[in-house]
Symmetry: C2
Subunit: 519 residues, 2 copies
């Protein structure tokens, strides 16, 4: 480990105070404290970070795309320089294997570069021009031009389960910076070492690229006070959050009570139901069982897209798939969960459902597979609640028409998945129609874990999956969350941003009098 921890918050280009409450990371493998003592941000740290973000937001507002792209790429290369330390710390702090964080660092850097390409190209701003018609009767038609622009300072709350890709330098930070918004990160207390290294990568890039110091701050904290105060601070324009339903809702409520309410883009909770149609269960029971097992135990079952409810048709397919899932679950080794809190909740939730779960070394637990009868499942709504960790519930259905009953009580989901047989593409349409209205993503013959970072991805869905079903926290559309619309009426060309100047100096795709092109 070459990294030297200072263990204080990042307040723009300065470091925070050492007077706040201290805390450490814990090793999920042993349950013991590891690494240095970190200092929670003080209220003064918080106020200074928000002030600096506010000043930076004026400077960032008109930063051209190529300068923002340079910053994002520099962050990516700085992360790669620190990759060995990041992987070591992330593994130590989460109990997950190194290989996972090799991949997650790659994903995070790829995501930063995707946003760099997006803002360098520039068409993402949705530039629209309606040209004037001075002769129109009864009133002349003005020249009207509009585009998306940076919203202002964004508070980013990190997830426990993706210490790199949904944390300090993750998708919320990348998309906010790409939009031209300064970021104040509330670091997750479970991985402060990984957080400090990522923050140092961003902070160095901010200096190297000549951006204002307030472009990036990161606050350490071991409790809820700093995060709550951050969302309530008048300088903050919006919030990005990935975490629990209770946590997300608490921030939504704080934001809604402000003098000036602001949006909280929270990605919260999902049980990601998987519907296996009869043909699929007959044709490939083992393949489906192996795939489902791999998906619900990936990352030790601590993914927001973990398939927690598995609907199987009663019959030989049910027996084959459930038998195989039981066998794999029984053979699985104990795994450490991310935090003591997550471990304790897992034990409580699985024991409530009838498991005899005790917990192993450190934050260790065993894989749990539950089976539920159809009516038992429908009547006991707690069966449909998310269990964070390596557990899933198998529900047998007699008739596919029964799914109507589940849909009527299903909450919003990040994903729903259908496994269909060779002849079932027509049969599934009705179910897609029904379930897609409550989901962000519909997966066919696959597994919901693994969220592709691309233009078309929707990592979203109705509440409680997220707070805004019209948005996504993964993929290029994530940038839209951190923007406002501005329109200019009869503006002199010299005053207009380049994106809206008449000759289209950036060569971006625009809508001009209703036509989409590079005119």
């Amino acid at each position: 480990m070459s990294f030297e921890f200072k263990s204080t918050s990042f307040i723009g280009s300065e470091r925070g105070e050492k007077t706040g409450k201290t805390f450490t990371a814990f090793s999920p493998e042993t349950g013991e404290a590891v690494g240095p003592e970190f200092h929670s941000a003080t209220n003064d740290d918080l106020i200074r970070s928000c002030l600096q973000a506010s000043i930076a937001s004026h400077l960032l507002y008109r930063k051209p795309g190529h300068e923002k792209a340079e910053l994002l790429r520099k962050i990516a290369s700085n992360l790669e320089e620190r990759k060995a330390d990041i992987v070591e710390c992330a593994s130590l702090e989460t109990g997950l294997p190194n290989a996972r964080f090799e991949g997650e660092t790659g994903r995070t850097c790829g995501q930063l570069r995707m946003f760099a390409d997006l803002v360098e190209e520039g068409s993402w701003v949705d530039a629209r021009i309606d040209t004037a018609d001075p002769e129109r009767a009864p009133l002349p038609k003005p020249d009207v031009r509009s585009m998306k622009r940076a919203l202002g300072p964004i508070a980013v709350f990190c997830a426990s389960n993706f210490p790199i890709a949904f944390s300090v330098a993750g998708g919320d930070t990348a998309s906010a910076l790409a939009a031209g918004c300064p970021v104040v990160v509330n670091a997750h207390s479970a991985h402060p070492m990984t957080s400090e290294i990522a923050a140092s990568a961003i902070s160095a890039a901010v200096i190297e690229c000549g951006f204002p110091g307030g472009t990036f701050s990161m606050l350490f904290s071991s409790g809820y006070e700093i995060g709550s105060a951050l969302v309530a601070h008048p300088s903050i324009s919006a919030v990005g959050f990935t975490g629990s339903r209770a946590g997300g809702r608490a921030l939504m409520d704080i934001a809604a009570r402000r003098d000036e309410p602001i949006p909280v883009y929270a990605e919260m909770s999902s049980v990601n139901p998987v519907f296996v149609l009869p043909g699929a269960a007959e044709e490939r029971p083992e393949e489906i069982a192996d795939g489902l097992f791999g998906s619900f135990t990936l990352g030790y079952g601590q993914f927001c897209t973990k398939p927690g409810l598995i609907f199987l048709p009663m019959g030989s397919g049910y027996d084959a798939i459930t038998g195989r899932l039981k066998q794999l679950s029984g053979e699985a080794a104990s795994v450490p969960l991310l935090t003591k809190g997550i471990r304790d909740a897992f034990i409580a939730n699985t024991n409530e459902r009838g498991a005899a779960m005790k917990g192993g070394n450190g934050f260790g637990v065993d894989t749990c597979l539950f089976e539920a009868e159809w009516f038992e499942f429908l009547e006991d709504r707690s069966m449909a609640e998310e269990i964070f960790g390596p557990a899933a519930v198998v529900i047998g259905y007699e008739d596919i028409a029964d799914l109507h009953e589940y849909e009527a009580q299903m909450e919003g989901q990040l994903t729903v998945t259908f496994h269909i047989g060779d002849e079932e593409a027509d049969d599934v349409s009705e179910w897609v129609d029904l379930f897609e209205r409550k989901a962000g993503r519909v997966v066919f013959n696959g597994y919901p874990t693994g969220v592709e970072v691309c233009h078309a991805m929707v990592h979203g869905g109705p509440y409680p999956a997220t707070s805004f079903p019209g948005t996504t926290s993964v993929g290029t559309r994530a940038i839209e969350r951190f923007t406002k619309l501005v329109c200019y009426q009869d503006a002199p060309d010299s005053v207009l941003p380049d994106e809206l100047k008449d000759e289209n100096p950036l060569g971006i795709v625009r809508m001009r009098d209703g036509n989409i092109g590079r005119g």
Copy 2:
């Protein structure tokens, strides 16, 4: 008047109960009750309308664009058939002249047809396709396709000041129906006659076009109970509102406290500052004075885009413009305001600022022009608050750099306006940079009243101008408020909506592997 009033709510294709509290319209000219007694919706009416909307939302979800376009065009032609009655009632209920409502009906029908064209063409859904790469290492890349889809039933709250264009058949209703969402309208109690005629035009179109009855409902009410219960009803997915800051905030708070919080797209309050630069004040004082006077008294000063604060450079320009504004204000006849409540608030607000306003016949008031010293204005924040009605405040500045002080305390605005002289285009850039971050629209050498209905329009802005600065309630982008995102991963082509099918049967503009075109 050929229209026969039934005076009950519209519950899908049926009519509501006659047991609710009754109320009437009032003539602002006389202050007397006019027209029939209307029956407030009962709680049962409300529940039935939400249930019908919920059922309809399933049927509307996959309605093709050309069918929605047919409905919107039919609504427009039905409104035109009823135009004489609409104009007569709107004028009677608002005290505004007939000619205004000839124009407003035209604007409303034009808006409906604009959304018809938009959804018939189809590219508005922002379809995106990222094609698969089964060979990618370490993991195959899935096929991912996404688009915007209908969100669900929308509650629409009507404005007092635009009884047609921001009311029953106005922009919120048009954009929600265009998106494929059923609408439950909360009619404004100040213009029930106009509302019933517009509702009959929509209801007839719903039947004529074979849409489900629950596509459209309209609830009459004289108090706040029905509107509050509507926003709280679990069937409602989002809210569109145009009205006061207090009213909008109250609905935002109800929506935020729901088990499932929903967005309230509220367009609320704005003082629309106008900054006249020294060159402009020298070059064309009379033109600017006449334009400002026309704008702040248009519709008797009851526009959300009324220029309420006018910043003039001290000197000869100030004297010329203010002198002319005073002269025009002094010569202006008394005008009736929309409601007794608006009239009473206008009298209270203007008297607080030192006017000796008494009020005339009916809801009549006189035009008020206030002058404020720079420091007096900065110190007394109430001077910067919106006065709904024919009043404006002129503030003299010594040095244009003083505007920094105002910006620091300025709230979010629908518009800011700059008047610049022939040589001042360069000077204004700094001020545009500063003020546009707090506004939805920046107007140059014009007046903020008159909101063009077009692709590029932004009728929005930061709180308290609206609740979401990333949205607009006027123009084609308004449809985006009432959508959710859905993505399909590795879906069989037959399951995909036409917008995402591989061969692009609708021929819409899509993003395919990052490239924008009709592929």
